[in-house]
């Protein structure tokens, strides 16, 4: 799975996610990536999110939209919302969701959060150098 989130100079955010799914999948199985609100979501008022990992728990938790809701209705920061979803909610027995997400809010704060051994990731903010990383 691959994804990107961006904040442009006009204050807009956007999210995109693309995947080949799971090795050996059958019966037309699809995951969270292409489901708006689960693997991909964007709203200028809150954030843009792209998720990756085990699609079924991310679908069931409506994960990407959940981040936006935690910000909009509970006033959490982007980072706190991402940490809660990935490190608490996804760890609950009935979800057990392995994976991570990238997110950005309309102020340019970013979250790169995952509960697995690694996540291929990179980012660059205006006026800064790029950051690329694979492992924890």
């Amino acid at each position: 799975t691959v994804g990107a989130v961006a904040l442009d100079i006009h204050g807009n955010v956007a999210a995109a996610t693309s995947t080949g799914g799971m090795t050996n999948k059958k019966h037309g199985r699809i995951g969270d990536s292409s489901i708006i609100g689960a693997g991909t979501y964007a709203n200028n008022a809150t954030c843009a999110v792209s998720c990756t990992g085990h699609g079924e728990p991310f679908l069931r938790a409506v994960s990407a939209y959940d981040i936006s809701c935690l910000m909009e209705y509970k006033g959490l920061s982007l980072e706190d919302a991402a940490n809660y979803l990935i490190h608490e909610k996804m760890k609950q027995d009935h979800l057990q969701g392995e994976g991570g997400l990238i997110a950005i809010d309309h102020q340019g704060n970013i979250a790169i959060t995952f509960n697995t051994v690694g996540m291929y990731r990179g980012y660059r903010r205006s006026g800064e150098k790029e950051h690329i990383a694979l492992y924890k």
């Binding site: 799975t1 691959v2 006009h10 990536s33 392995e98 051994v117």
Partner: protein, 175 residues
């Protein structure tokens, strides 16, 4: 905070270093760098976020190192079935496609669905047909072949299990 920024990912999971060579790891890092820089320069020129994320994901889909587009994993019947979505925070416009085959860049198809279809989500043959209407690029099966992915698939093909794209041996049971 920043007045513009780009963030990308190439998948999460149990990345097992012994599964790939220094050459593959360099390929992954170089492609992530290429994607981040492409996005950064578009944003710096004032490009809107929805065009930037579409372009950046295309860069990653065109690499064999990631499970999307060219590097997609094998399905149980030995094909490649892809899915993608894009969403614009400015107006909540969205486009998505799933269960599509032979589409070079599924994110381009999702973007056309956002712009031209009047729908949000198209699937399978109908989505492919819509893509052909708007000259989305298609590729033969060979384009999506990758020996590393093929070997991973062969290991579990006969089993009733599946695997995430970055998992060691945590193949999971269906159902």
């Amino acid at each position: 905070m920043s007045n513009f920024a780009i963030v990308v990912h190439g998948g999460a999971g149990t990345i097992t270093p012994d599964l790939y060579t220094a050459e593959i790891e360099k390929g992954i890092r170089d492609t992530l760098f290429e994607a981040v820089e492409a996005g950064y320069f578009l944003l710096r020129e004032g490009e809107v976020a929805v065009n930037v994320v579409s372009h950046v994901v295309m860069v990653l889909e065109n690499s064999p190192f990631f499970n999307a587009g060219k590097g997609s994993v094998f399905t149980n019947d030995g094909t490649h079935e892809m899915e993608a979505a894009i969403m614009n925070g400015a107006n909540l416009d969205a486009g998505a496609a799933c269960a599509v085959k032979n589409v070079r860049n599924p994110i381009v198809l999702a973007r056309k669905i956002l712009e031209k279809s009047g729908h949000v989500y198209l699937h399978g043959k109908g989505a492919e047909e819509f893509g052909r209407l708007y000259h989305v690029a298609f590729e033969p099966e060979e384009y999506f072949f990758d020996q590393f992915r093929y070997d991973e698939w062969r290991k579990i093909k006969a089993s009733n299990t599946y695997r995430l794209d970055h998992s060691k041996d945590n193949a999971k049971k269906f159902g």
